[in-house]
C-alpha cells in the first residue's frame, strides 16, 4: 500500500500555465550571466556585468540619441516594388511583407528630424531586424534623401548603420545605391555640413563600402562586427583561422579605420561634442 494517495483523481493539465518567466530574464551572450531585463534596459541594453552591447532596434536607438524621445519621421512613404520579382526559397515579396509587419517599418531605415542636446539634427537609424538591415532601392533612396535634406537645411546628419550590406534580392539595383548615396555625400561634403557615421553591430558589405566609412567622423560601438567581406568568406578564401577579435570595432580602431570606439552611454555626448567643434568653425 502506498504511503501517499492522490485524493482527487488525475492531474489536471488542461489549464494554461500561470507562471511566466519568459521575457523577464535575458542571458548575456558575452558573459553568460543571467540579467533581469529591466536592468538591461535601464542600462541602454548594455550588459551591466560585461559591457556587452546588445543590438537595439531603430526606435530604441532614436530614443537614446534624441532629446526627450521627440522626433518627426520622414520618408515613410516609399516601399519596395520587388523589381526583379526575385524568388529563392521564398518570394522576396513575402519576405518584405513579413518584415514590414514585424517591424512596423516600410524598410530597413528610419529617417527622422529631432534635437540632440538642443541642436537640430537629422538622424537615419537602420533597423537590423528588417531583412538583416540590407540596403535595397528604398534604403538607398531614404538615406540619399536624408543626406540631401541635411545639405539643403544645413543641418548636421548622423547615420547609425546596422546592416549586412546590399540586398541581394534587388541584385544590381542595390549595388547602384552605393554609388547614389556616395554621390550625395560628395555634395554634402562640398557644403561643409557635418556628417557623423555611427557603426553598430553589425556593419558589413556594401554599407561599410559606402556611406558608413564616409563620415567626417566614423565612430563605432564597442565590439561591433565591422568589415567588407564576412568572416566566413575570408576564412574560406585564405584557409586560415581568423585571429581573435578580427573585424571588431577595437580591431578597426587599432588599424586606423575608425576615429573612436564610443560606448553607448557616451554616444550622445560624444556626437554633441563633435558637432560643437564642427559647427563652431562654420
Amino acid at each position: 500500500m502506498a504511503w501517499f494517495k492522490r485524493q482527487s483523481g488525475e492531474l489536471d493539465t488542461s489549464g494554461e500555465k500561470k507562471v511566466r518567466t519568459e521575457g523577464l530574464w535575458v542571458k548575456c551572450a558575452g558573459c553568460r550571466q543571467i540579467i533581469w531585463k529591466k536592468d538591461l534596459e535601464d542600462n541602454l541594453n548594455v550588459c551591466p556585468k560585461c559591457e556587452k552591447h546588445f543590438r537595439i532596434d531603430a526606435r530604441t536607438r532614436l530614443s537614446q540619441l534624441l532629446d526627450d524621445n521627440q522626433y518627426e519621421v520622414d520618408d515613410q512613404d516609399i516601399a519596395s516594388t520587388d523589381p526583379l520579382k526575385f524568388v529563392d526559397l521564398k518570394p522576396y515579396a513575402s519576405r518584405l511583407k513579413q518584415a514590414q509587419s514585424d517591424t512596423g517599418l516600410k524598410d530597413a531605415v528610419l529617417n527622422v528630424r529631432g534635437k540632440l542636446n538642443g541642436r537640430p539634427v537629422i538622424v537615419s537609424a537602420m533597423e537590423y531586424s528588417f531583412i538583416g538591415g540590407s540596403m535595397g532601392a528604398v534604403v538607398g533612396e531614404a538615406i540619399t534623401r536624408a543626406v540631401e535634406r541635411a545639405a539643403s537645411c544645413r543641418t548636421p546628419i548622423v547615420i547609425v548603420s546596422a546592416s549586412g550590406g546590399a540586398r541581394m534580392m534587388e541584385g544590381v539595383i542595390s549595388l547602384m545605391q552605393l554609388a547614389k548615396i556616395s554621390a550625395a555625400l560628395a555634395k554634402l561634403d562640398d557644403t561643409k555640413v557635418p556628417y557623423i557615421s555611427v557603426l553598430t553591430d553589425p556593419t558589413t558589405g556594401g554599407v561599410t563600402a559606402s556611406y558608413a566609412m564616409l563620415g567626417d567622423l566614423n565612430i563605432a560601438e564597442p565590439g561591433a562586427l565591422i568589415g567588407f567581406a564576412g568572416p566566413r568568406v575570408i576564412e574560406q578564401t585564405i584557409r586560415q583561422k581568423l585571429p581573435q577579435g578580427f573585424q571588431r570595432s577595437e580591431f578597426l580602431l587599432e588599424h586606423g579605420m575608425l576615429d573612436a570606439v564610443v560606448p553607448r552611454k557616451q554616444l550622445k555626448p560624444y556626437i554633441s561634442r563633435a558637432l560643437d567643434f564642427m559647427l563652431a568653425a562654420a
Binding site: 524568388v87 539595383i173 554621390a183 561599410t208 568589415g227
Partner: protein, 367 residues
C-alpha cells in the same frame, strides 16, 4: 541519347575515314539531329537552357568532323560545295543558339580564360602606354593597372582590373581581385588625370574586391567607399567599360562614370551567382537559377537603367576574335568620348550626379 549517337558516329567515322561522301552523310545526319534537338526544346524554359548547352556541345563535334572532311575532301568541287552548305547550316544554328544564351552561360563566357583582358585591350585600342604604380601608402597592387596612354592622339588615363592567363600570372594578378592599395592607386591615377584635365577610361573585369585578412586590416571598405565618393565629383570625363565580370563593390569602385558601357557578354552583379546560390538557396549548385534571378546580363542592365550602352562583340564572344572585339570597343569609346567632350565641366559633373541620383529608383511612393 544524342551523345551516344555521336560516339557511334565517331567510331564509324574512323572506319570511313577514306570515303568523304559517307562522312558527309554522317555529318549531315548529326547536324539535322542537333537542329531538331534545338527546334523541339521549349521556349525560355529551364529545358531550353539545358538544350542550348547540349546543342552547343554537339555543334562543336560536327564542326570537328567538317574540319576532318575538309582535309580528305580533295579537289572535288562537288564535295566542297556540300561542305560549304554544311558550314552555313552550322553557322545559322550557332547564331540561333547564341541568341538564347542564358545568364549562367553568359557568366561562363564573361569568365572565359581566353577572353581579352585589360592590357590586351590597351595594346590594341591605345598607343604609347606607360604604366604608373603604387598607392604611395603601402604597395603596388598588380590586380589593377593604371597608366597614361594615347587614344587617337589624345592623352588619356587608363585604370583597369587585370586578370591573366597562366597560373603564375594569375597568382601575381591575384585573379583580378584588388586589395585596398589597388583602389587607392586607381584613385590616385584619376586625380592626376583630373589635375591635368585628361579623360579617364576604366575597364572592369573582376570577381570582386579581395576578401582577405590583410585587405580588411588595410580598409577594403574604406578604399572602395572613398573611390565612390571621389569619382562622383571628378572634374573630367570618365568612361567605364565592363569587359568581363563586374563583381559587386569591387567593380563599382572604378565604375562611377559618365558613361558605363557593357560588353555584350559581360556580367555585372551585386554578388556572384555561386555566392547568391549558397546564401539564398543554401546550395552552390543552384548557380544557374541564381544567375537567372539576379538579372546580370547586359540586356538586363540596360533594361534596369544601370548601364548606358552595350558594346557589341564578335559572333561567339570576344575571345573568338580579339582584334575584332578591340575594334568594336574602340568605336564605342570614340563615340562616347566625343559626346562627353562637348559638355562643359560643370555640366558634366552635374549630369553624372543626376544620373546616379536617379538610377535604380524602384519603389512605390504613397501620396
Amino acid at each position: 541519347m544524342a551523345a551516344q549517337r555521336t560516339r557511334g558516329a565517331t567510331a564509324s567515322l574512323a572506319q570511313a575515314q577514306a570515303e568523304a561522301p559517307e562522312l558527309w552523310a554522317v555529318s549531315d545526319f548529326l547536324l539535322s539531329m542537333v537542329e531538331s534537338l534545338w527546334a523541339c526544346s521549349g521556349n525560355g524554359s529551364g529545358f531550353k537552357m539545358d538544350a542550348a548547352l547540349k546543342a552547343q556541345q554537339e555543334l562543336e563535334k560536327v564542326e570537328q568532323q567538317i574540319a576532318q572532311m575538309e582535309s580528305i575532301a580533295g579537289a572535288s568541287t562537288d564535295s566542297h560545295k556540300q561542305l560549304e552548305e554544311l558550314r552555313q547550316r552550322v553557322e545559322a544554328l550557332r547564331k540561333q543558339i547564341y541568341a538564347h544564351l542564358n545568364a549562367w552561360e553568359k557568366t561562363e563566357l564573361a569568365r572565359h580564360p581566353q577572353r581579352p583582358n585589360t592590357l590586351e585591350y590597351i595594346e590594341r585600342v591605345f598607343t604609347d602606354w606607360s604604366e604608373i604604380h603604387g598607392d604611395r601608402g603601402f604597395s603596388d597592387d598588380p590586380a589593377i593597372v593604371c597608366g597614361m596612354a594615347r587614344f587617337h592622339r589624345q592623352e588619356v588615363m587608363i585604370v583597369g582590373h587585370q586578370k591573366a592567363r597562366d597560373t603564375k600570372q594569375k597568382v601575381y594578378r591575384n585573379f583580378g581581385m584588388p586589395n585596398p592599395e589597388g583602389y587607392r592607386k586607381a584613385l590616385r591615377a584619376m586625380k592626376i588625370a583630373e589635375k591635368f584635365g585628361r579623360p579617364v577610361f576604366t575597364f572592369v573585369d573582376t570577381p570582386g574586391a579581395y576578401p582577405g585578412l590583410g585587405a580588411e586590416e588595410r580598409g577594403q571598405a574604406e578604399a572602395i567607399a572613398h573611390n565612390l565618393r571621389e569619382m562622383a565629383r571628378l572634374r573630367v570625363p570618365v568612361i567605364t567599360t565592363i569587359t568581363g565580370e563586374g563583381g559587386s563593390g569591387g567593380a563599382l569602385a572604378i565604375a562611377v562614370a559618365d558613361r558605363v558601357l557593357m560588353m555584350e557578354n559581360a556580367i555585372y552583379s551585386v554578388i556572384s551567382p555561386e555566392g547568391c546560390a549558397s546564401i539564398m538557396w543554401r546550395d552552390a549548385s543552384k548557380k544557374e537559377l541564381a544567375a537567372q534571378a539576379l538579372r546580370i546580363t547586359a540586356p538586363d542592365l540596360i533594361q534596369l537603367g544601370c548601364v548606358d550602352a552595350t558594346v557589341p562583340e564578335p559572333e561567339g564572344g570576344a575571345h573568338t576574335d580579339q582584334e575584332a572585339a578591340a575594334a568594336l570597343l574602340d568605336a564605342s569609346l570614340q563615340k562616347h568620348l566625343a559626346e562627353l567632350q562637348q559638355l562643359p565641366v560643370s555640366e558634366l559633373v552635374a549630369s553624372r550626379y543626376n544620373k546616379f541620383r536617379n538610377m535604380a529608383q524602384f519603389f512605390s511612393v504613397e501620396s
